[in-house]
Symmetry: C2
Subunit: 171 residues, 2 copies
Amino acid sequence: MELYLERGFGQTTVAQIAERAGVTERTFFRYFTDKREMLFDGSERLQQLMVDAVAGSPADATPLDSIGTALDAVGSVFVDLTRSRTRQVIIDSDESLQERELIKRDRLATAITGALRDRGVEEPVASLAAQTGIGVFHVAFASWIAPGNTLGYAEIARNLLAELRIVTNGS
Amino acid sequence: MELYLERGFGQTTVAQIAERAGVTERTFFRYFTDKREMLFDGSERLQQLMVDAVAGSPADATPLDSIGTALDAVGSVFVDLTRSRTRQVIIDSDESLQERELIKRDRLATAITGALRDRGVEEPVASLAAQTGIGVFHVAFASWIAPGNTLGYAEIARNLLAELRIVTNGS
DNA sequence: GTCTATAGTACGATAGAC
DNA sequence: GTCTATCGTACTATAGAC
């Protein structure tokens, strides 16, 4: 991340990263499938937290309630605001990094769809709820790291989920 | 697309594509920024249709109503079911193509957010509605090309939007 | 650890259309 | 004469094969 900030992602070569880390290029590619992947280390953990939350939500919870527990469950991940902001600056600077971020988000949605289905939620409701939930998650994260924001992630996510219910309750 | 089906996307070189098209590699890269982009030709048109629909929706329409008009507006694009299915088989076979598809979808969401904001919809409602709308769009498209489906895209999209209102109207 | 294919870039030349 | 389209070549870095 130091190098990506210094020279830009596209201008940073794997050779430079490997050198600063004191390893060879080959070793770099042993740890990360490609240059982008290193910025998305925590994604499996995030996914696991959300899936577990859905699986563990009350039996009488609606699909959207389950989504709510998933949004709550990842609060512990989003604490270091400065680091999240820095990381996002890098991602926003490069289109291929945005692509990678989006596929992570999509895998998340797919995993949540599966967790809902495991609870007996039928299609297309499972997909619909998961997609919507990830949408809320994304907006919540973006709001959290937005300049000037003082609220915590968890609070924002809860507010947005409530807002969603209002928005979709229109005439 | 012929070559991508014959040999697989990853196994197809730009040289082969250029040869079959009767041009040089250099010319290929004049038309497409990269190997993936050629599969996403219609995306600007799709985006324009949706943005125009939102902009042209009735003044008293709720954000979600505007989304509804956008979902309707693209019905004319999704007619050739066989071609859409073939294209999706290719995309689903390669992760980098899925990434590209997702960034197109994300740009769509961003554009719709802007169109809603232009109508006076404030944040975070604009983002929330746009994200949700794109989620519905995606599920609708997937349902449309799913094996065995006999419904048209427009009908599916309408049903799903109605379904969404129910899902988010929970206890 | 070594080797290599290929995507993608940079810069430049040429030539036809109107 | 200007604009636009194709082609030529050399090069780098990624990423995969072995």
